[in-house]
């Protein structure tokens, strides 16, 4: 190790003159975070043969004798930024060191081990604990947004306990493998207490090769905190965070008068109705006047159902420390999040624990026991959440909340979904979803005697997860009022349409992992550094589940008290299938003087998903690096002040991806029962009053469908320039997926009754570029500044898709998929709004129906192919339906004395969305749904009783077309599909640490208070007040019509403190 440090000094040291006179400097080195002494810190001064060095002892103290004219000392240790301290005639120099992410001695976690960051040849992005926790969110995944180049992340909602995200690495498309403390799927990353996390590494290229089948979409490695040697002492850390959530993009509904006016307008503007009979307008003058005068009261359903703000709180206590024999990190965390409903009927809480204990049994043998777990519970009303939003947004302001405005009688309104009842568990019932997980891992590590640098390591891990859910659908009453006899009539309502029922369901999963490895590290002839790893692991997991349901006639919420009616029970076939893996992993790294770097790794991976003969695959990864800055020719010509580190690297790996959708495709037989793709329930037939599960012959089994391969090539450039102040990385990559399953185009006639089996036929390519830069500077003793930013771009292209020829060239262009970017959306270009009748009459383009029904204010499209009519032939690529193509983040941090400020901006570009349903149009379902206030800004005649089709009618212009406009016309156009690029202030944190002088008196090591905001500001081109990340129809391969009604995202204001005793 010492040799390596020397190497570093070569990089860091400035040329110094050599003098003979000596002086002695003493001092103490402490951690700036908590003031604890740092042992083993290297203090150096001088250069070349005049160089002197020492290291701090356990108390952080040091003594160093230096030439008298030495100007500065250099203080360095792993994990902290180097400090250059001017001596300025001092004899005693105390230095506080800041933890650093960009230290050249920094060690990063890689697959099955660690490597010095400076020696990395693969693409590995890392985050430190402090960089993660600066963002405060209920979902750990959201704390990564904007911080890792190439991580594409969309938060779909802030629904408590839903953990709704879509994300991938570099556009690879599938979910990356998540490895916690060396165990694949060993826990649940989103549900982790962020205070437990020491670091995160994201492996994006050949660095993931040791994960074989699971590595093709990249790997996220999470390492938890372990106790460190503190000379038998422990730190006790307590932190809390109190947050207030605000909900983003919550729309506002029109009032009753506006609703009635809009409906009347629509009737006049509808070509179909306004030309027949003597139509009464839907709302008479008297009916509207009643609301204007206040005789009738407009209902604000949205306000009645949804809160403006709600609470969120987190507490965490942990103990960390130990001696050189035993050290421990023990953590307990709790969080609770309330929701948007007025009744607070949706909420979530979670506790986490972790106990990581390391022991040194003797000089050669070390042991670790890692235990962790979490338990959570989500409560929500029984009514599907999307329905609550759908019906609260749509409920008419002309309907009263209560029948006859008597609060004892909730009003029966159309669809029998009164939002007030739907958010109230005492009416509609509730759902309770809880999950508990426990992970246990034992590790033994042994330094094998006689062979220097050889270690053996054994790991056994077991994980158990159980989901225990309870849902209660309650029958309740809604009332209608009859003024003629002042009577209330009750309607019995359940959201299921069935009697009150209680459902319990239980699912469990047990997984185990066993690992044995040999590690070797040695240096030969002082210049050849070699490490090697050989590892065998096997893992398996198995799930099971069942459920039971009975009708409830007396109000007791347990199955025992339920009636025998409606008794049901069963199990779901998905989730019970076994997963088995085993793999042999090898890796060799070599470097010559830290200058020329090479690495080779492989995994021979096996999985039970594939047919006999195809169960195993070999996945190699290769990478090389060249630290040009270490070459003497480089050093001779370029000052290390300008460029202190310059490395180029290249990697290539052939990884695998096990295709989840087609796993076990080689197994023939019967699906029993076949499962309905729409409701996931068994399919069968009623015979003699019994539901009989069907047995359906599975499609043609395939004897050789196997994994597909993921070939990743990566080129990277790392540099540190300008006095070590700027670090940067540029990477370009290409990932080819080969062997995607499809069916051959040799089609057999339908009369055979089966289609051809799937084969590994198609291929796809993803390419992209990533750039990250960071800047760190310290000005004087009190002020430091850090800046950082990253941006990435990716695009995926189908190389080959097995497909038949199209009928003509246009269709070939439009429908052909081979050699074509993926996820293209086709449509027409929006051209403008008609502003007058004459513009409509003079239009040479037929916008449908010969423009007979077109009115001023209607949208029109560009006649792209110039044939005089707008139809499908005008379709051309207009957008991409995917996660954002460009993702970026930018952070700024200052510290001034005890104050620190950090801001993180994150954003995305190259992303499109389409807001359907009520977000996109007013008065849906033939006026059965109301409208949002934004639609008041619409075209309408000056005289509300004027004939809209009379060319003399005068119009008031607006942003939206008239109420009768058919919004389906813009569905496939650049008017309907809009660019949802955005930048937002994801995190802003202002912290204040109490000065040490005060803390010492009360025996506190560290105390910091902060104010923090999440999603504070959003800048977007979307002008409809909708949050750009809120899912609409996109991004999703199969758009869900209920997406517009998804729970909103939040903005949070947090206050908190960290205290270390």
């Amino acid at each position: 190790m010492k040799k390596m440090y020397r190497l570093l000094f070569l990089v860091c040291l400035l040329p110094l003159s050599i003098f003979a006179q000596q002086k002695t400097i003493k001092g103490k080195i402490t951690d700036s975070k908590d003031g604890s002494p740092l042992s083993g810190v290297t203090i150096t001064a001088g250069t070349g043969t005049a160089k002197v060095a020492t290291a701090t002892g356990a108390d952080g103290g040091f003594t160093l004798t230096v030439p008298a004219n030495t100007k500065e000392i250099i203080v360095s240790t792993i994990g902290f930024s180097d400090v250059r301290e001017k001596i300025n005639n001092r004899d005693i120099i105390n230095v506080r060191m800041n933890a650093s992410a960009k230290d050249l001695g920094e060690v990063v976690v890689v697959a099955y081990g660690t490597q010095k960051k400076v020696n990395l040849t693969g693409s590995v992005a890392t985050l430190k604990s402090s960089e993660i926790t600066i963002t405060k969110n209920e979902n750990t995944l959201n704390m990564l947004t904007g911080k890792i180049p190439g991580l594409r992340m969309t938060q779909q909602s802030a629904e408590p306990g839903a953990y709704a995200n879509t994300f991938d690495i570099r556009g690879y498309g599938g979910a990356p493998a998540i490895v916690i403390d060396g165990v694949l799927n060993g826990g649940n990353f989103q549900r982790m207490d962020p205070n437990e996390i020491e670091s995160i590494s994201v492996l994006k290229d050949a660095a993931a090769a040791p994960y074989g089948f699971n590595g093709g979409n990249g790997v996220i490695l999470i390492t938890t905190k372990k106790g460190t040697n503190k000379n038998g002492k422990f730190d006790i850390n307590y932190s809390f965070n109190q947050g207030i959530q605000q909900f983003l993009g919550m729309p506002q509904g029109v009032n009753a008068v506006d609703y009635m006016m809009l409906v009347n307008e629509k009737a006049r503007e509808d070509f179909g109705t306004s030309f027949t009979g003597n139509q009464q307008l839907p709302f008479s003058y008297d009916a509207i006047e009643a609301f204007v005068q206040g005789n009738s009261v407009s209902a604000d359903w949205i306000d009645a159902a949804f809160s403006k703000t709600s609470q969120q709180v987190q507490h965490n206590i942990n103990i960390s420390g130990g001696s050189d024999k035993v050290s421990a990190f023990i953590n307990l965390g709790y969080m609770k999040q309330d929701g948007v409903f007025k009744t607070n009927s949706i909420n979530y809480d979670r506790w986490n624990f972790r106990s990581n204990i390391s022991a040194k049994i003797n000089d050669r043998l070390r042991a670790q026991v890692l235990l962790s777990g979490y338990g959570d519970q989500k409560n929500q009303p029984y009514q599907d959440l999307y329905e609550i939003f759908k019906y609260a947004w749509g409920a008419l302001p002309t309907n009263t909340l209560y029948a006859n405005n008597n609060p004892n009688y909730l009003h029966l309104i159309p669809n029998s979904v009164n939002p007030i009842a739907a958010i109230d568990p005492s009416m509609v019932g509730y759902k309770q979803l809880s999950e508990k997980n426990i992970q246990a891992q034992g590790i033994l590590e042994y330094d094998i005697p006689y062979i220097k640098g050889l270690k053996a390591r054994g790991v056994y891990s077991i994980g158990y997860t159980m989901d225990d859910n309870k849902s209660f659908s309650n029958q309740y009453n809604l009332y209608s009022y009859d003024p003629t006899d002042s009577s209330y009539t009750a309607s019995h309502v359940t959201s299921t349409g069935q009697p009150s029922a209680l459902n319990r369901s239980f699912a469990s999963n047990t997984s185990t992992l066993a690992q044995l490895s040999l590690n070797y590290a040695n240096t030969f002839s002082k210049v050849h550094n070699v490490t090697a790893l050989l590892l065998y692991e096997q893992s398996q997991s198995q799930g099971d589940n069942f459920y039971a349901q009975r009708n409830i006639t007396i109000p007791v919420n347990y199955l025992y008290a339920a009636s025998g009616n409606g008794q049901q029970g069963g199990s779901f076939p998905n989730g019970i299938n076994p997963v088995q893996n085993k793999g042999l992993v090898g890796r060799v790294t070599y470097d010559y003087k830290g200058k020329y770097l090479a690495e080779f790794s492989f995994r021979n991976d096996g999985s039970n998903y594939f047919p006999p003969g195809h169960k195993f695959g070999l996945f190699p990864g290769y990478s090389v690096g060249w630290r040009i800055s270490e070459e003497s020719f480089f050093k001779n010509h370029i000052s290390p002040k300008l460029i202190s580190n310059l490395k180029i690297r290249a990697s290539y790996a052939e990884l695998g991806l096990s295709d989840q959708a087609n796993k076990f495709a080689f197994v023939g037989g019967y699906a029993y029962p076949p499962v309905d793709p729409q409701d996931n329930k068994p399919l069968g037939y009623m015979i003699n009053g019994q539901f009989v599960n069907g047995a359906a012959v599975l499609p043609n089994p395939t004897s050789d469908l196997s994994w597909y391969t993921s070939d990743i090539t990566n080129l990277g450039l790392d540099f540190t320039i300008l006095n070590n102040k700027i670090d940067g990385t540029i990477e370009v990559y290409r990932r080819d997926l080969n062997g995607l399953p499809n069916r051959a185009t040799v089609t057999i006639p339908g009369t055979v009754g089966v289609s051809l089996p799937l084969e590994n036929l198609d291929s796809r390519r993803t390419e992209g570029i990533e750039l990250s830069l960071s800047y760190k500077s310290r000005i004087g003793h009190d002020f430091s500044l850090s800046l950082g930013g990253n941006v990435s771009y990716e695009r995926t292209r189908n190389l080959h898709v097995t497909e038949g020829p199209q009928g003509n060239q246009y269709l070939q262009w439009k429908n052909g998929q081979t050699d074509r970017n993926t996820n293209i959306l086709w449509g027409t270009d929006y051209a403008g709004q008609y502003t007058s009748y004459s513009q409509i009459y003079n239009s040479t383009v037929n916008n449908g129906g010969g423009n007979n029904t077109v009115l001023p204010g209607d949208y029109y499209m560009q006649d792209w192919n110039g044939d005089g009519v707008i139809n499908n032939d005008d379709y051309h690529p207009i957008a991409v339906q995917d996660l954002p193509l460009v993702n970026f983040g930018f952070n700024v941090g200052f510290t001034y004395k005890s104050i620190d400020i950090t801001a993180l901006f994150a954003g995305a570009a190259g992303v499109w969305t389409e807001y359907g349903e009520q977000l996109g149009q007013p008065l849906m379902y033939s006026n059965a749904a109301s409208a949002f206030t934004k639609f008041l800004d619409s075209w309408h005649p000056v005289d509300p009783y004027a004939n809209a089709f009379d060319p003399n009618t005068q119009w008031v212009s607006g942003k939206y077309p008239n109420m009768a406009y058919d919004y389906s016309k813009i569905q496939n156009s650049t008017k309907g599909i809009v660019n949802a690029s955005y930048v937002r202030l994801k995190t802003l944190e202002i912290g204040y640490s109490l000065p040490n002088s005060i803390l010492k008196k009360v025996g506190i090591k560290n105390c910091r208070f902060y104010l923090n905001g999440y999603n504070l500001l959003t800048f977007t081109g979307l002008d409809d007040g909708v949050d750009p990340e809120h899912p609409a129809s996109f991004p999703s391969a199969s758009p869900d019509p209920n997406f517009p009604y998804k729970y909103p995202l939040n903005r949070t204001f947090n206050f908190g403190a960290n205290i270390t005793l």
Partner: protein
């Protein structure tokens, strides 16, 4: 040591041999009657029974069961009868369904073929009788698929074995069409085999027995007979016709008709009779479709409100939902019986005075009190009561009555008429009458089409015992009756009349008319038209009409520039009376039938993969 121990425990290497645990093998399926039942449950689920949820436009909602989505389809008003004048509804015209949806159930046929080929290997698990019964059921099921194919396409390939690729070459698999005559003959023979093998009961009304096989044969042979006879008179010529793929020579007709009669007579040997439990003829006929113990039921399809919920939505989607929760808590109607259908029973001329002016009625229910009980049980008229609520429907209000005759009034352009109307059933006029159009009132086009536009509502299959609360989407458990004895009598009567066996026809018809509460006919009444009219009345809304007017080859005549009518109630305010005008339904849809649609074209995708399927049917 510890490491070594770990090493030993680990190296007891796991095999990667665990496979999915949610599949069964032939051994498991064919080892027990329960396994067989699971197999046939899947086949019955896929059986092309045109029950409540059948969508003749073949809507593909992602379920994979195009046209026959048993579990998620709720828009039952998309009925075939609503595209051709039995009802008017959401379809714009006949063309919406006439080209079919490419029904091509060879995957299901393969499953039956596999069953028939595999069962004998496991015969030792069952008694010989059981094996025969299972085989007989499979023959019935296979015949049913071919029946559904033949009535759409005529001649199609008959596949009775399990084909495999690449064991068989693509060329071998590119089979030719069988002639239409061969297909219908095959269906008849399959059902004869089924009759021989099946017992008198399979223990469930949802499963076929020997009489069910003959019921299907009765229907299929009647179809074949009419296609041979009338398809030889009214056709589009082409290669497929010349080669016998679309069309049967007329001389085959009598034999097919006779087979229909013979099969019907075999059904009569079974335990079936017309439902006559109630003395009240209206109630009795209503209950034919609701009473699970009806002796008339030969094969039914059942629904289930438990878990997994498999319900229909008939009650909800044929009950008015104009005003909030009027007669159902969700859904709402969109298809309505036409005046033409009602007039098959009764001319309804009592609504017009001899001088052509509208007759005034004190109460909206007055004109309908003495109609045939079967009609009253088939259609809901103004003033009828359901779930405690009155069918209250109007086109609008005349403040004073118009001058002149009804004919003159309804001939005026709609804008020139002087009544008040509304597009919302909650809009009132002076408060006196309730609302302008009534709670079940009549919307103009463009408004939500969930109240009548003919003045009538469907009553057949409507469960009057339910409360409004209980009626919603996916809450209906009334079984669909696929074969009932009345149809067999009508099949027999029609085949009789086509083969001049008038006495037998009269007996069958009068049995039905007696139960219907209609006067008996005499031998002199026995004509093809009378028998067909009786069939249209008795089997209204049961998804027969569309196929009947095709096989009679009358669709192109009956649906030539056709507009259908309703009976429109109005309130005359100054007189305080009701009048009823026969008017073209207010969507004024125009119906036509293209003669080539007597056959559907073969699915384009199938022609692309198998050139031997050419020639396609004439006109395609």
């Amino acid at each position: 040591m510890i490491i070594a121990g770990l090493l030993i425990s680990i190296t007891s290497c796991q095999k990667l041999d665990a496979i999915r645990q949610d599949v069964l093998t032939d051994d498991q399926i064919f080892s027990s009657e329960a396994g067989i039942t699971a197999y046939v449950a899947q086949e019955y689920r896929k059986l092309p029974i045109e029950s409540f949820e059948y969508r003749p436009d073949g809507r593909n909602d992602g379920s994979g069961d195009i046209g026959f989505n048993l579990h998620h389809e709720w828009e039952h008003f998309y009925r075939a009868g609503a595209a051709c004048g039995e009802m008017v509804g959401p379809y714009g015209g006949t063309g919406d369904i006439a080209n079919g949806f490419g029904y091509w159930p060879y995957a299901d046929i393969r499953a039956v073929n596999y069953f028939i080929a595999t069962l004998p290997k496991y015969a030792s698990n069952f008694t010989p009788d059981k094996v025969n019964n299972f085989l007989g059921e499979a023959y019935f099921i296979r015949a049913y698929y071919y029946f559904a194919l033949a009535k759409r396409y005529g001649g199609i390939p008959i596949i009775t074995t399990v084909q495999n690729y690449p064991q068989q070459t693509v060329q071998e698999l590119q089979v030719h069409r069988n002639t239409e005559d061969e297909v219908w003959t095959f269906i008849g023979n399959q059902l004869d085999s089924a009759y021989q093998l099946l017992p008198a009961s399979m223990g469930a009304l949802e499963r076929a027995n020997k009489y069910t096989a003959m019921a299907l044969k009765s229907r299929a042979m009647l179809y074949a007979g009419s296609i041979a006879k009338y398809g030889s008179q009214n056709f589009v010529d082409g290669d497929a016709r010349a080669q016998g793929f679309a069309g049967i020579s007329a001389d085959k007709a009598p034999a097919y008709f006779q087979k229909a009669i013979d099969a019907s007579k075999l059904v009569a040997e079974g335990p079936y009779s017309l439902y006559r439990k109630s003395a009240d003829k209206i109630k009795n006929y209503t209950d034919v479709f609701l009473d699970a113990t009806s002796p008339e039921n030969i094969l039914i399809r059942s629904y289930y409100a438990g878990d997994p919920e498999r319900c229909n939505s008939w009650d909800a989607t044929f009950s008015p939902q104009g005003k909030l929760n009027y007669m159902s808590s969700g859904g709402g109607s969109r298809a309505y019986p036409t005046l033409e259908l009602v007039e098959r029973f009764d001319s309804l001329n009592m609504v017009i005075n001899p001088d052509g002016t509208p007759r005034r009625f004190d109460h909206p229910a007055d004109p309908f009190q003495n109609l045939e009980p079967r009609l009253r049980a088939t259609v809901y008229f103004p003033g009828d009561v359901l779930r405690g609520k009155v069918f209250d429907q109007r086109e609008g209000i005349y403040l004073t009555i118009f001058n002149g005759t009804v004919a003159d009034e309804v001939a005026k352009p709609s804008g020139a008429r002087s009544y008040l109307s509304s597009s919302d059933p909650t809009i009132t006029y002076n408060g006196a009458l309730g609302t302008v159009i009534g709670g079940a009132g009549m919307y103009p086009p463009g408004s939500p089409d969930n109240v009548t536009r003919t003045g009538f509502y469907v009553r057949k299959y409507i469960d009057y015992t339910k409360t409004v609360d209980q009626v919603n989407l996916f809450t209906g458990t009334t079984p669909w009756i696929e074969f009932r004895y009345a149809e067999i009598l009508l099949n027999r009567a029609e085949a009789d009349i086509e083969t001049n066996q008038l006495n037998d026809a009269l007996t069958c018809l009068n049995d039905i008319r007696d139960r219907a509460g209609a006067p008996a006919l005499t031998l002199t009444d026995m004509t093809v038209d009378v028998v067909r009219n009786e069939r249209c009345k008795e089997l209204a809304f049961e998804n027969h009409y569309w196929w009947d007017i095709r096989r009679w080859r009358v669709a192109d005549v009956w649906l030539s520039n056709a507009h259908f009518k309703g009976l429109y109630p109005y309130y005359v305010e100054n007189e305080g009376k009701y009048i009823f005008l026969k008017e073209t339904e207010n969507f004024n849809r125009n119906y036509n039938f293209d003669k080539k649609n007597y056959y559907e074209g073969l699915p384009g995708g199938e022609l692309a993969t198998n050139p031997n399927l050419y020639p396609n049917n004439p006109g395609y």
